[in-house]
């Protein structure tokens, strides 16, 4: 914190309470990290925790968050491999595990392919440092985004993945974040650099071993050099009491391909900001599913920026809200002047399972080029009566028919997960959540 000579206001700003422990961070051995922290703190002077009066947060009430206080994580929980076994994936052996934001070497295992870097910042060697440091924090996500700035103010360690030129990493890399402590705030960070012509699959996975409240504020940065190919699966299964405030910035170079599937099922309030910057001829597929019930709130804000010509974007976002849950989707598509021959399709489909569930969906197109194809659509509805009848005419009870159709609605997104073990795991979870025995 900057030294204060002026008299403080009596009411302490919530943001200040979250920053209390920041000065106790030891300086990093990486100059870049220290610079980023200082810059973030400077931005935070100008920022506040958002309220409903902020345009980007007008549907998302953070009152439940600001009523609670969170401690920093002071010590690492010791977990055994058996503790994390339920979350490991059979066909994936490259794994970086963070327990309450702290890297757990005994639970992690690194890539064996030469030149591929799968490590964490604290252990990173000087030989890769230059390529990594240049990309860390380089994607303009901190300037007006309070949670990203908060994450950066606390930056000390990060999952780091670097795939060298033309290397196709066949086996996925699993970055697993486990929450074991209640009442803490942690700020996980991850950076993936896919060099020119390389190919990699990343699984970004948030799970909890307890069901209490905590604040998790992750930032993911993904850089695709020209012709790189990244498949990104993001799964959020935090505790039902948790607050998950996430930011991801993707920079897709010329003719690169970024495919992502993001699933949000946990947390009492979750917010995922994804911004994708598309270079010339770059393609992205951004699919998402929020499956919530009780009084959960899940908010997804995406921005796909067609900065150059010939970019292709496809987005399918689905929300399923039951009980009195609230889903929010804001899908911004920006087509800049000169981004000719842009081809963009966005679809937001929402299923309400009960009278008290509620969805706010807002496609937002800003188009400044004139030779483009941009299609978008949004639907909000209940289960289709004809489909329910068809299933009942085959002997399925009303409840089973509805659960099966809900599972089917979610299935379209889960089917898009390219890692078989993860797809199967999530299908099982959705089946449990919708109460069907298949």
């Amino acid at each position: 914190m900057s030294t204060v000579t002026a008299i403080r206001q009596p009411a302490v700003d919530y943001l200040d309470t979250l920053l209390t422990s920041q000065p106790q961070l030891t300086p990093s051995r990486w100059a870049r990290v220290n610079t980023l922290r200082t810059e973030a703190l400077a931005h935070l002077e100008e920022l506040q925790i958002p309220t409903l009066r902020d345009e980007e947060w007008r549907f998302t009430d953070l009152a439940r968050l600001t009523r609670l206080s969170f401690e920093p994580v002071r010590s690492a929980s010791l977990l055994l491999p058996t503790d994390i076994a339920p979350f490991c994936l059979g066909d994936v052996s490259t794994r970086l595990v963070f327990v309450d934001g702290i890297y757990a070497p005994q639970l992690s295992s690194q890539a064996t392919e030469s030149g591929v870097v799968v490590t964490h910042l604290s252990a990173m060697g000087a030989d890769h440092a230059a390529r990594i440091e240049a990309q860390l924090g380089g994607h303009q996500i901190t300037s007006d985004n309070v949670f990203a700035a908060l994450n950066t103010a606390f930056l000390h360690d990060a999952a780091v993945i670097l795939v060298p030129r033309n290397v196709e990493l066949a086996e996925p890399v699993h970055v697993l974040f486990l929450a074991t402590q209640v009442g803490v705030a942690n700020h996980p960070r991850c950076l993936l650099v896919a060099e020119s012509g390389s190919s990699v699959t990343l699984i970004e996975d948030y799970v909890a071993l307890q069901d209490g409240p905590y604040l998790i504020n992750p930032v993911m940065e993904i850089v695709l050099a020209d012709q790189a190919h990244v498949k990104h699966m993001r799964v959020q299964r935090d505790s039902s009491q948790a607050f998950h405030m996430a930011n991801c910035a993707v920079s897709a170079g010329r003719a690169s391909r970024y495919q992502s599937v993001s699933i949000a099922m946990g947390a009492q309030i979750s917010r995922y900001n994804l911004s994708v910057l598309l270079g010339e001829g770059a393609e992205c597929a951004v699919d998402g599913l929020a499956l919530i019930a009780d009084s959960q709130l899940a908010d997804t804000h995406t921005c796909i920026d067609h900065a150059k010509p010939h970019g292709i974007s496809r987005q399918l976002h689905k929300c399923i809200a039951g009980d009195s849950a609230h889903a929010v989707f804001n899908g911004k598509i920006l087509v800049r002047q000169g981004a000719q021959r842009t081809d963009s399709v966005q679809s937001s489909r929402n299923l309400l399972l009960s009278a008290k569930a509620h969805v706010d969906t807002k496609p937002q197109l800003e188009i400044f080029a004139d030779d483009v194809k941009c299609a978008h659509g949004a639907t909000v509805g209940q289960l289709d009566a004809e489909e329910v009848f068809y299933l009942k005419s085959r002997g399925l009870s009303d409840g089973v028919a509805r659960n099966l159709l809900t599972y089917a609605f979610a299935g379209e997104i889960i089917d898009r997960i390219p890692v078989a073990s993860l797809k199967h795991r999530l299908q099982q979870r959705v089946l449990e959540q919708t109460g069907i025995a298949l």
């Binding site: 489909e387 009848f389 005419s393 002997g395 399925l396 099966l404 299935g411």
Partner: protein, 269 residues
């Protein structure tokens, strides 16, 4: 197969039904015994599909008068799923697509639900897979259809085959086939018909709702009924279907002499 000693399976008396406040069925009577194949034909708008849907229990249709007894019991007292479990099966004219649910999952779930109802053994996924593949051979269906979503991207013929596959798995007491022949080419029609024919037993019964006579060359009916303006106005055997094919439906609505009588009268005058 007609057997006058066979018990009555379905007894429809004076059935009146409407949709969106418009009366479609205006006093339909029909009696179906076990082992019989009945065809219901009629012009567009006569109420054929309405009848099929009312029997299955579709909530868009309101029964305003009349009764339907299935196996001696009031069918309207049962919800759609209860009718299915009691052995009433409707092969849809436009089968519904269910993206995200694999055909194999759907078929297994339906099969096991009925098995449980009948106090019989349910099958696990592997056992069911063997079982359903055997049934699919009868219909010349590619096993690839098991992994695809229910009816999604299926051609018209493939959807109808999927309906008959369900019929083969669920072994209903009463199968109502709603315009099963619509949208089928000759080859598909032949395969589907063969499939249905193999499923007919002395204990079950089939009601074919059809617009065209063509299907009845392959699935030979014991009775042909003509439905017009919500009532059955004529009942005959398969010869009636051929006559309708040649003369259309108009001659039934007005009390005309047959064509042969008119000419004879003209010649003798």
């Amino acid at each position: 197969m007609i057997n006058p000693n066979s018990p009555v399976l379905l007894e429809v008396r004076g059935l009146c039904a409407s949709v969106n406040g418009i009366e479609i069925l205006k006093g339909l009577d029909l009696s179906v015994r076990r082992g019989e194949v009945h065809a219901i034909m009629g012009p567009n708008g006569s109420g054929k599909s309405t009848f099929a849907k009312v029997l299955a229990g579709h909530t868009a249709y309101e029964v305003t008068a009349g009764s339907v007894l299935f196996e001696g019991k009031n069918l309207f007292a049962l919800a759609p799923e209860e009718r299915a479990r009691a052995g009433v099966f409707l092969a849809f004219q436009y089968p519904i697509e269910i993206p995200g649910v694999a055909n194999s999952q759907f078929l297994r779930l339906s099969y096991n639900t009925l098995q449980a109802q009948r106090g019989k053994e349910e099958l696990d996924p592997l056992e069911f897979d063997d079982f359903v593949r055997e049934k699919m051979k009868l219909l010349d269906m590619n096993p690839d259809f098991l992994d695809r979503s229910v009816n999604e991207g299926f051609s018209g013929g493939e959807k109808k085959r999927n309906e008959i596959l369900q019929m083969a798995l669920l072994e209903p007491g009463l199968a109502i086939l709603d315009e099963t022949d619509s949208g089928l080419d000759i080859d598909a029609l032949r395969v589907v018909s063969q499939g249905v024919n193999q499923l007919i037993t002395p204990d079950n019964a089939i009601v074919l709702v059809t617009h065209y006579q063509r299907l009845l060359n392959y699935i030979v009916p014991d009775f042909v009924h003509v439905l017009d303006a919500g009532r059955i106005i004529k009942t005959g055997d398969k010869a009636l279907a051929l006559e309708l094919e040649e003369r259309g439906y108009d001659w039934l609505s007005t009390p005309h002499q047959s064509a042969g009588e008119t000419i004879a009268a003209g010649v003798s005058a």
